[in-house]
């Protein structure tokens, strides 16, 4: 491992510079509880990558006297613990950013505090991180703070977690201790939606498994920490999502030029593209993509440009330009997860300023549905949200705003709440979904309604939402139930992958975003069918709790039964009716649920069918009785 390699001669400089600019960037944060050694770890990463400069090293050695030092006689935490107050107290009280690069990658590190009252800073660091390093003291194992931080990481959509089991030297490099912590964390975080979890035993003070694999942990077969960070693939998700362009500033140098300056939040925009204004739904075409370096043919996600449109449309700061057909929600009510960051608690009924992208509007906290205990993930009723608490809330803005769910678009779904008097940032929220009743579209009120249509059919519309692994038996059970209902003269319909993936949703792939959109559309179709009076059986893997929650929400007041076909992975894999598991194991199918993509088992299914022990007929019978009894 060497640090940045200097070019050998001036003739190489062009190529060398190109390599520098073409490097990818990884942003990671370190979190964990006090004294787990976060700052020491970062200092160690910098030191071992030979990135500490001579004058820094000299000042470090002089500062390290009278402190706990490693074999090199250096207290590495001094490199990152910047503020004088912190150095005196020996704790980190704010987010510090560090920059380093190796010959493979550039890194921005956010060092975030573990002290309980500073959890808000961790959320800050997490909001811009691709990966989180979660430190655990090997002697102490998983603590309350570890759980809280894991939950906040999950809330802010951090997909990759490295469990850094630090101070492994102090437990004599014990393999069992490491394994127990690893397993405990995986069990705890199963529902948190992390795409990857990797555990590494390290001693930040002594340098074990930081840059090179340590001989003192011969039982550890994974990559050392730096190697992992250098090679981790993080997706370019924003690029593949629908086009969003929040207008930041209207550019009018003279009467002949009117451009809209902003940064492409997601997707791409090309010359001649049709766009819609999210608020007015007025269409326009992109005439020019202006930059000081000349006009562009296209702009990518993350690029700051100025768009000129082909016609006069009323657009100002806060407006969002979007791709026709895939426009964001435009509404004044939504449900969100809220992290409270202020001493003064949040109360339902209070009014705040809400900032989302370049939109700034007054907003009222209309309902606090529940508080989530960040240590146990249990939900409970609450009258307010105090500092560092997390809750599920609904908010109503004074005028409609354009937004997407945070899971689909972080820029369009992440917001802050600001105090209207002292202007402090009070909390940060992630939008879960818009509330239907608020949508500024006028739904036609028909005299012929669901009740009338259902009565005509002599049945109560229902949506049965199956969830379970591929091969668990969902479709088999759904077929049996449909046959029975049809035999009884009732009108049922099965929505499954075969009739939806090949038609309505054939434009969708299997990324997480596409899966969520897939489920959203299916849920909408199911609702329409139920509205038409049908009994709808939806048979999709639907692995994510979130999407099932969305489906239930979309169903609104329609009877909704979540049926979990609980067939263990090994049984499904042994059946493998379509040969998918074999191909997924071979790496031919990516993002395959259970193999390379998580399945989040329901916590509150309305009915659980034991696919390993019961026959399809028996399961169909149980489900049928449940449907009738409702």
């Amino acid at each position: 491992m060497t640090a940045q390699i200097a070019p050998a001669a001036e003739t190489d400089i062009a190529q060398w510079l190109e390599e520098q600019t073409d490097k990818s960037l990884l942003r990671f944060l370190t979190c964990g509880s006090v004294d787990d050694g976060k700052s020491t770890l970062i200092g160690r990463l910098l030191y071992d990558s030979q990135l500490i400069l001579d004058d820094q090293l000299a000042s470090l050695q002089s500062d390290s006297r009278n402190r706990n030092v490693g074999e090199e006689g250096i207290d590495f935490s001094l490199l990152v613990d910047g503020l004088v107050a912190e150095r005196e107290q020996g704790i980190t009280i704010d987010v510090a950013y560090r920059f380093f690069s190796t010959d493979k990658r550039k890194f921005i590190v956010a060092d975030t505090p573990g002290h309980e009252q500073y959890t808000r800073n961790m959320a800050t660091g997490a909001s811009n991180a691709d990966v989180a390093l979660l430190l655990i003291d090997a002697r102490k194992g998983i603590l309350t703070q570890t759980r809280r931080h894991s939950f906040i990481l999950s809330l802010l959509g951090v997909k990759h977690v490295v469990l850094v089991v630090n101070k492994i030297d102090l437990v004599d490099y014990d393999r069992e201790t490491f394994a127990a912590i690893d397993q405990g964390f995986r069990a705890f975080s199963a529902d948190l939606g992390f795409e990857s979890i990797v555990s590494i035993p390290v001693s930040a003070l002594r340098g074990d498994n930081i840059v090179t694999r340590s001989e003192r942990t011969p039982w550890f077969e994974g990559q050392p920490l730096l190697g992992y960070l250098e090679t981790l693939e993080v997706g370019q998700q924003a690029q593949d999502r629908p086009f969003r362009f929040p207008v930041q500033w209207v550019n009018r140098p003279n009467l002949d030029f009117r451009g809209f300056s902003g940064t492409v939040a997601s997707g791409t925009v090309k010359l001649g593209d049709d766009v819609l204004v999210a608020s007015s739904r007025k269409p326009a075409r992109v005439d020019r993509i202006v930059t000081m370096d000349g006009d562009r043919a296209e702009a990518l996600a993350g690029e700051a440009v100025t768009l000129v449109l082909d016609r006069e449309v009323d657009i100002s700061r806060g407006d969002v330009l979007a791709q026709p057909g895939r426009v964001p929600d435009y509404s004044n009510q939504f449900q969100a997860q809220l992290v409270w960051m202020a001493d003064e608690p949040a109360y339902p009924g209070r009014s705040y300023l809400l900032k989302l992208g370049s939109q700034l509007v007054p907003a009222t906290l209309t309902d606090l549905k529940h508080r989530t205990n960040v240590n146990t993930l249990e939900r409970s009723a609450a009258k307010n949200l105090a500092l560092n608490e997390v809750g599920t809330v609904t908010l109503a803005t004074d005028k409609p705003i354009a937004f997407d769910a945070y899971g689909e678009n972080e820029t369009m779904g992440g917001f802050i709440l600001i105090d209207r008097i002292n202007n402090l940032t009070l909390g940060a929220g992630t939008i879960s979904f818009g509330l239907r009743r608020a949508q500024n579209l006028s739904y036609q009120q028909f005299d012929v309604n669901r009740e009338v249509r259902a009565r005509l059919k002599g049945q109560t519309p229902q949506i049965v939402w199956f969830t379970g692994l591929s091969g668990s038996g969902k479709s088999t059970v759904a077929n049996l139930v449909e046959k029975r209902l049809t035999a009884e003269g009732r009108h049922a319909y099965i929505l499954d992958g075969d009739n939806v993936r090949h038609g309505l949703n054939k434009d969708l792939g299997f990324t997480d975003a596409a899966r969520v959109e897939n489920i959203r559309r299916v849920a909408e179709v199911a609702r329409l069918m139920a509205d038409a009076g049908l009994i709808v059986l939806v048979s999709f893997i639907s692995p994510f709790m979130n999407e099932r929650r969305i489906a239930r929400e979309i169903a609104g007041d329609i009877d909704f039964i979540e049926a979990y076909v609980n067939t263990p992975l090994d049984v499904c894999e042994a059946r493998d009716p379509k040969g998918f598991y074999a191909r997924a194991r071979a790496g031919d199918i990516k993002n395959f649920t259970g193999i390379s993509s998580p399945f989040e088992a329901p916590e509150q299914a309305d009915i659980i069918l034991e696919g390993a022990t019961e026959s399809p007929e028996a399961m169909a019978e149980v489900l049928y009785r449940k449907m009738v009894e409702r």
């Binding site: 600019t21 503020l83 009280i93 510090a96 500033w249 140098p253 990518l300 993350g302 700051a304 972080e410």
Partner: protein, 304 residues
């Protein structure tokens, strides 16, 4: 630009994020100002500001705090840039300091800096009633800067309270302030020194010639090479300036700015030299090493 690009490069990303910050300032504040220190970071800042608002001109003035001890080449460069790019340049000097003949020799670097830079800055910001001041500080420069927000709140006395910073999530910036308060804004927060140089190289941004090695008259004071820019410098007995090939990694007041011996006369050579070097950038500035935590103290008092 070709249409084959799949993702932005590191520098394109940094550039876009900085531009976004500039636009946020222009859209959210009544009376913004951009600090212009004439150094290489200021050159990058100026370039980004021009890009952010193109084809409009930069919609706010640039402010230079002139201590009267800047290198002469810096002042010439400043005036040339203002003329070439047509931005509004405002220059402020602490006249009280001038009247009292405050200088780095009689008053020490700490007191001199306090009066001619920090106090001068406070005067200028108050007089201009600026509600946002854009600066070129980077988080990689110094430990206390590593914790600064991109939008960093200042109370009515221009002071920074590091324990009461607003959380800054995603790229959603809380730009709200009350009357009398102000915001310091740092569009280069996430740039490193290497990023600055590679960007200057890639975009061919003009910088003060002092960054390039040339024969210059210097004296050596306790290991630091000082360029004798005019006859106000007080030489000690027997001390005589000698011509050496030197350049500067950072620019400020000439009696307080150390040069390095170097033959790097082009950007490529500077970058090569920098990659081989093992000392960090601010070492050439004498003011930081006066006392431990000195930068943080200055910042709390209003220094950039």
């Amino acid at each position: 630009m070709t249409s084959k690009r799949q993702a932005l490069t590191h520098l394109e990303r940094l550039e876009s994020q900085s531009i976004e910050i500039f636009r946020e300032v222009a859209a959210s504040f009544e009376r913004p100002v951009m600090m212009y220190s004439i150094g290489k970071d200021s050159s990058v800042l100026l370039h980004l500001a021009r890009k952010a608002f193109f084809p409009s001109k930069i919609p706010f003035p640039l402010l230079h705090i002139d201590t009267t001890w800047k290198f002469r080449e810096m002042i010439a460069f400043r005036d040339r840039m203002a003329e070439e790019y047509g931005f509004e340049l405002r220059v402020h000097t602490n006249q009280e300091g001038v009247a009292n003949n405050i200088n780095p020799f009689d008053h020490g670097s700490s007191r001199y800096t306090d009066i001619m830079k920090t106090a001068a800055l406070r005067q200028a910001l108050s007089a201009g009633q600026y509600d946002a001041a854009i600066g070129g500080a980077r988080r990689d420069e110094e430990k206390s800067r590593a914790k600064e927000r991109i939008f960093s709140h200042r109370n009515a006395a221009h002071a920074w309270d590091p324990k009461n910073q607003r959380p800054e999530l995603w790229r959603v910036f809380n730009t709200r302030i009350n009357p009398g308060e102000s915001m310091r804004v740092f569009p280069l927060s996430n740039w490193t020194e290497l990023d600055i140089w590679t960007y200057i190289h890639a975009e061919q941004i003009p910088i003060v010639p002092l960054y390039f090695a040339a024969k210059r008259p210097v004296v050596e004071r306790s290991g630091t090479l000082i360029m004798i820019d005019d006859d106000r410098y007080r030489l000690e007995d027997g001390e005589r300036p000698r011509e050496e090939m030197v350049r500067f990694r950072t620019l400020g007041c000439y009696p307080l700015t150390g040069a390095i011996r170097s033959n790097a006369a082009s950007l490529a050579e500077i970058i090569m030299e920098m990659q081989a070097s093992t000392t960090s950038e601010r070492e050439g500035r004498l003011i930081d090493s006066d006392q431990a935590g000195s930068m943080e103290k200055k910042k709390q008092e209003g220094y950039f």
